[in-house]
């Protein structure tokens, strides 16, 4: 499968002022993302996640190394029009409305006329924004503005999505809606690179995880590779289970099941999805991505 994103030995050093101390935001980062993959960059605030996304979009110039999208250097700008971007802390002019903002960004992408109108209506509907489409952005909640941000990233049907903290500010229902949307996009061949510090979100979404810490790549691999093989998960649903092996918690109507390994978990979630059941809780027991994250970070700190 062709690599959509490739970075080799990426370095970025920021300098504040002429005599300011240099700060190394990225130190020799190399990895690639294949077509249709969802890869999560996990890291604490200031780890270098946003800098990495901005280098991939040629918004920030690297101090060394190379970044490539769709097989050519990002500086050549061949990727333009094929990437959807949601920046961290997305905001828009307060006087604009979601529909007007989408129209402007659609026109920037060369869309016009009825195809633009259809694309706008479709995104507004799929992200539950139809009712607020003509309201001023200053009157919308933080979560709704974040969904407007996602709508603009998807408007021109990009082949690659760079999402910086996509579920920031969303309530649990909103987070679930976005997760489903991203999974559907991935299934249709869209490559997704997402930055997040929400471990639960990454566990449910990403096939591969890169742990970034103080500009260094602390770990990179599939969840199965990073998590212990016998990782156990607890799943809860609030509907009658489609198969045996579930235990009802008291007489609450909530059913619970524990499984071992991420593969088994993935199979179970797929089965539930096909039965039209959405789990109310999926949580790792004992060892989790959080443990892996903490372990890799402490190993890196120890080595330094």
């Amino acid at each position: 499968m062709a690599a959509v994103v490739e970075v080799h030995g990426l370095l970025k050093t920021y300098r504040s002022g002429v005599r300011g101390r240099p700060v190394e935001a990225l130190k020799n980062i190399s990895f690639s993302v294949d077509e249709g993959e969802i890869v999560a960059i996990l890291g604490l605030n200031g780890a270098g996640k946003s800098t990495l996304a901005k280098i991939l979009l040629d918004l920030v110039r690297p101090s060394g190394g190379e970044a490539m999208l769709f097989g050519s250097s990002v500086h050549r700008q061949d990727w333009k029009g094929r990437v959807g971007y949601l920046p961290e802390l997305f905001s828009a002019p307060p006087s604009a409305t979601p529909r007007r903002l989408l129209r402007y960004l659609g026109e920037i992408h060369g869309m016009s006329g009825s195809s633009l109108n259809r694309a706008i209506d479709s995104q507004l509907e799929s992200l539950g924004l139809t009712e607020v489409a003509d309201r001023r952005i200053s009157t919308l909640s933080k979560g709704t503005v974040q969904r407007v941000g996602l709508a603009q990233a998807l408007l021109h049907t990009p082949k690659l999505l760079l999402l910086d903290e996509p579920t920031e500010g969303l309530d649990p229902a909103g987070q679930r809606m976005i997760r489903r949307l991203l999974m559907a996009l991935s299934a249709s061949g869209v490559t997704i690179l997402l930055n997040s510090h929400l471990l639960s979100e990454v566990e449910l979404l990403a096939k591969r995880v890169a742990i970034l810490h103080r500009g260094m790549l602390a770990a990179l691999g599939t969840q199965a590779e990073l998590l212990p093989r016998n990782q156990r998960f607890s799943i809860e649903i609030s509907q009658t289970p489609p198969e045996s092996g579930w235990q009802e918690i008291g007489s609450t109507g909530i059913w619970k099941k524990e499984v071992s390994g991420t593969d088994t978990l993935q199979r179970l979630l797929t089965n539930l999805e096909s039965s039209g059941i959405t789990p109310s809780t999926v949580k790792p027991l004992h060892s989790s991505l959080e443990d892996v994250f903490v372990e890799h970070i402490s190993q890196l700190e120890h080595r330094q």
Binding site: L59, R61, Y85, P87, L89, F90, P93, I108, H109, G110
Partner: protein, 263 residues
Amino acid sequence: MIVVVKNTFRENIVQPFALFALILVTAAVGLVSFGVTLHYESDMLISINLFGTPIDQSAAIVRDTLANTASALLNAALMFLFIMGASFVHVDMLKNPLTGISLTGPISRAGLFMGKLVGAWFVGFSIFFVLWGALWLTLFFKSSGQVSAGLLLGALSLSLEYAVMLSLAALMAMVVQNSTAVAILCLVLYFSIGPLLASTDHPSVLLRVISTLFPPLAEMQEVSRSSILGHPGDFAAFLRAVPHTLVYLLAGMYVFHKRDIAG
């Protein structure tokens, strides 16, 4: 780029500086419409009434004094507001998340830079023409067609001054990256240093060198004032400002091309 021009115009026309300018326009037109009465006899202006009170002086002197004061004040107030507005456009571009998003589309950094500049310029251009156009129409009807078309020439002259200051503000924004600092620098330059540097025979070599870095601001201001009063000035001052404007634009674009974008 036209999309960016349109959007920048739409965003800026509702900004406080543009709204204040529109209020000023309305007040000026209102004052002339309801406060000034011109009396003609055989196509000759014989007296002027201000708010119903006849002015006990030669009509021509009153007319010239009023026009001089009003045009100087209006020009200064409008340029003050628009330089303030211009200082924010390009600094905001470096920090606004929409800049990064826009640049994922098939538009270059140079296109975005110019789109923002032209969009902001159109705001000034429209308001100058609305103001001087409305005043011209008001005076035209009050004077039974005796008013000269200098007002419209004045609007053009102000628009050109604004274009020069916008390009300077855009370059400063790229270098300083702080809108307050850009606003202060531009205002100081326009209202004090610019006119001070106007003289070409400075005793100091340093001042002579500095004066070559800036366009002939004082001359341009003089052209705008005299044009409004019906005496078109030497528009060659604007031609002399073209190289400065081009250098500011190209330098601003170059710095923007090299800058890391926070948004």
